[in-house]
């Protein structure tokens, strides 16, 4: 498989993982290891002064893993820039998953604010990977603004509904000059495989792994699905025939007399 390059860093794994919703840090750590991922998202929260501090970062950090802090919780570009600066200070990285979703019901990204924030954050030296609508025009605008990759959604966050935006993802992949990471909505390994077969550069998966009956086994299933999908894309899929007419794959009469 070809390696993936984003902002000058090479990735041999095309499965990116989120760290939300795991039942424990230990299971999260084992799932990350089993997935083979090299890109892992984290969020930020206010420290509770009275609570015992848990060390979730310690369960993720490894030289092979690129930390991708997100801006979850911000409502506009101004808050996103502030969150990004806090993130760079806390984690010592320029990598950033920009997500601006002011609507708590559907968690859909605000395209106007996302584009505005991308323009500002690129100038501040961040490697910006915006979570965005599966809007081909927007993705080109984000690319022009300097986004290191674009991360269009397959379906709403955590919905496990798969690639509801399939046709638009296809256009985005065809047009994009930067890597396309399908983020949100991927609920089963088959969804991830489908995205990769379409030519997506990577998939970002969280809920589907974290809430599985066996998250570690599911992480392996996603690893294999992403690899299979990518290999199929690179191998070149056969054309889909029009209509219902069959195309024989065996000679029909060669051993019979006419």
């Amino acid at each position: 498989m070809q390696t993936l390059e984003i902002a000058g860093r090479e990735f041999t794994s095309r499965l990116f993982m989120g760290t939300g919703k795991f039942s424990s840090n230990e299971i999260m750590k084992r799932a990350i290891e089993a997935s083979g991922t090299q890109m892992v998202t984290v969020a930020m929260k206010r420290i509770e002064l009275d609570d015992e501090q848990d060390d979730m970062l310690g369960h993720i950090m490894s030289p092979d893993i690129c930390l991708l802090p997100n801006t979850s919780g911000v409502r506009d570009a101004e808050e996103a820039v502030f969150a990004a600066q806090m993130s760079r200070e806390a984690f010592g990285t320029n990598w950033l998953k920009l997500e601006i979703h002011p609507d708590p019901r559907y968690l859909l990204p605000d395209s106007t604010e996302t584009l505005k924030a991308t323009e500002q954050l690129v100038k501040l030296g961040f490697n910006v990977l915006p979570y965005c609508q599966a809007d081909p025009t927007l993705c080109k605008r984000l690319e022009e603004a300097g986004a290191a990759a674009v991360m269009p959604l397959g379906a709403p966050i955590g919905s496990n509904k798969g690639l509801r935006t399939r046709d638009f993802l296809q256009i985005i992949i065809e047009q994009s000059g930067v890597p396309v990471v399908v983020d949100a909505g991927i609920g089963a390994p088959s969804h991830a495989a489908e995205a990769m077969e379409m030519g997506a550069s990577a998939c970002l998966v969280n809920t589907a792994i974290a809430v599985a009956g066996d998250p570690v086994a599911m992480a392996v299933a996603f690893k294999q699905a992403v690899e299979a999908g990518r290999m199929a894309y690179e191998a070149g899929l056969g054309a889909v025939s029009d209509g219902m007419v069959a195309e024989a794959s065996s000679p029909l009469t060669a051993f019979l007399l006419d």
Partner: protein, 65 residues
């Protein structure tokens, strides 16, 4: 002198941001501090003189996708 840290009233014993971080036994790494919505780099904590009523936010990593 009192300041608010993550919305909670704290009586400050020292004078600088570093004094406050030490007083609250907060980790020095993996965190970021903002005062009145402006991020203060850790290299400036020891010179940052606190004043009555400042709003201080301290964040750290959390699980998220």
């Amino acid at each position: 002198m009192n300041v608010k840290v993550n919305g909670k009233e704290v009586s400050v014993q020292g004078t600088t941001l570093t004094d406050l971080i030490v007083q609250l036994a907060l980790p020095q790494n993996g965190v970021a501090v903002a005062v009145d919505n402006k991020m203060i780099p850790r290299t400036q904590w020891s010179d940052y003189i606190l004043r009555e009523g400042l709003q201080i936010v301290v964040i750290k990593a959390a699980c998220g996708g």
